[in-house]
Symmetry: C2
Subunit: 408 residues, 2 copies
Amino acid sequence: MNIPVSREECAALDAVDPLAAFRKEFTLPEGEIYLNGNSLGALPVRTPEVVRRTVEDEWGQGLIRSWNAAGWTDLPYTLGDRIAPLVGAGPGEVVVCDTTSVNLFKVLTAALRLRPGRRTVLGEETSFPTDLYIAEGVTGLFEGGRSVLLPSLDDLDAHLDDSVAAVVLSHVDYRTGVLLDMAEITERVHRAGALMIWDVCHSVGALPIELTACDADFAVGCTYKYLNGGPCAPAFLYAAPRHHAVADQPLTGWFGHAAPFAFQPGYQPAEGIGRFLTSFPSLLALAGLRASLEIWEHVDLAAVRAKSLLMSELFIQQTDGLDLVTPRQAECRGSQVAIRHADGFAVVQAMIERGVISDFRAPDLMRFGFTPLYLSYTDVWDTAQALREVLASGEWREERFGRRGAVT
Amino acid sequence: MNIPVSREECAALDAVDPLAAFRKEFTLPEGEIYLNGNSLGALPVRTPEVVRRTVEDEWGQGLIRSWNAAGWTDLPYTLGDRIAPLVGAGPGEVVVCDTTSVNLFKVLTAALRLRPGRRTVLGEETSFPTDLYIAEGVTGLFEGGRSVLLPSLDDLDAHLDDSVAAVVLSHVDYRTGVLLDMAEITERVHRAGALMIWDVCHSVGALPIELTACDADFAVGCTYKYLNGGPCAPAFLYAAPRHHAVADQPLTGWFGHAAPFAFQPGYQPAEGIGRFLTSFPSLLALAGLRASLEIWEHVDLAAVRAKSLLMSELFIQQTDGLDLVTPRQAECRGSQVAIRHADGFAVVQAMIERGVISDFRAPDLMRFGFTPLYLSYTDVWDTAQALREVLASGEWREERFGRRGAVT
């Protein structure tokens, strides 16, 4: 598809956008363009009512009966099954539980146990830090365990020796937006006898993911970014079926037991993906996720990817001349664009004052997240224009935009 | 205080009950008496609006800005500080995070590391099973680690040898309602050189707890029973200040880092209680807890305990002749009463049909939870009468009340 070169061409594309109808599924602040959907996804219109029902009807009136009557007991599985098609997995291969960090702890420990004698975990120094911290936490539990951070993936082969039990990588880099080749890397890691764990936090809902086709061993991801499950909504965990019967994770809480309601001493892991559960996620939190996943049932991920790439191409073209950090090649890009600027923090603040909400990562990255379900080509056009105007006018130099810590 | 011996005397007591005003803080189904507050606490009237605001205003409109603007970032600490007085702890000694199981995993691993050379964890066979399962999971990570389940606490001294790193006990037993002597047991465990971890799920909000005065090392607890935080609301964790600087827990996610927003590789635990955080709880879940803890700021726990004991005394007296499992001595009792009956399941179902909601634990225990904030003495009187009538009439023998699995 041709990249639009005027606001009119953007509007024309919007008029025929097959995803345009999803915009009305989301509530967004009036008069703003929200480009942080890669950090915290927007609120679906239907969510407040689903949450209200959960609070007032299921909890308030149903009380303890709602475990059965409202189907609470099954939610980690039923919601997992709804996420499965978004990551190229089958039913019974994904569960919703805990947080990304806790889930990574589980699968990484299980991975080390599946590769006895191997005690090294490889990660990328630029990954989202919690993954690296958890890798430290896990390897610290194994005699001789160590977590090695690669400055660059170019060093991967050099480190893939027979001490490596597992490799943990982000499918899309949270800062640069670099998208890794899941199939190729997984194959390389497998050839070296190690297991491959993918963090898909920044790709799930942003592009098609093929965990099964790529032969991934495990994956973890969050639901509060592109999936719009709500701030710090419950995370999910994928395990390849070949590991279900043998995976041994240490967070052995009662919901991972084969018979959680038998209340018997002595842990017996559930058959299948259930053994990765520990305890039960908040029902209020699950309500938010339940609501947003209803929308995702109707989304064509190929259309999402096509629009996402055209949006980022458009943005890159319209901000030509700036210090682009995200790859220009479409196949190496997630659904966000990062631009380096020494005063990026102040520039982002000046943009926010204009109603264009993006974010900043120290020391110098401005991040623009493109969410095809609720952003239009015109929004992207306007964002690029605002950025150019802010930079050209120098308004970001005003003192009130001065540097402060950024939280996202 | 004298135990009332008629419905009129109950009503007279209710009329002067200093906690009676709290009843209007809770929404309960019309025409029912809810005795499962020890399993899932009732919905506070104020909660739907706090949750709505969090969803629609903080998430929907504030979006990513709410991390600072709505104070999200501080909630694990600020809510922990609000729970602290309920467990006899000081500011900065309690954090809200994850689930009871996950938090027990953290403190138990930290405890084993604080007692190098000792690899045994003692628990009670009758504890809520998730605690026992987690103890298995943790000890499985240590060479020579083992989790020993005592059939009875009478066996504690015999097992408290120098291999014991930690003892994990429930302050109140989830089935029988037995309340343990926290000070005495903690002292005994300390004398043996081990650390003491208390699970206060069934006592927090039901009676005063004195973690500091009893010299407890760690404690974990939930907020969805007596604290009314909502179904599977976030849990909390207490660590004695003496352990803050040295405790080493392996779930080292980014929110436990000394500088979570610096996004630097290399884990550095936060000073103080923050090092027990892993990642961030759902903001929707926290909203429920935030709302209910507003109520608890105004509650006098001594009054709660006095009313709780009088309620359970009344119930025990009015069900005299049945097979009482809960201790008759007030100081050995939490805020629930368990009665053994071979057909307890059917009896509980027949009670539910009369609008009296209690629950059943296999194989034969009927549990009646007394929540002083929203139950009256008259409610307790009516419950005892209903139980006697159901048993006398034999209505529970009707086929529709037949045995099925109970979920609570």
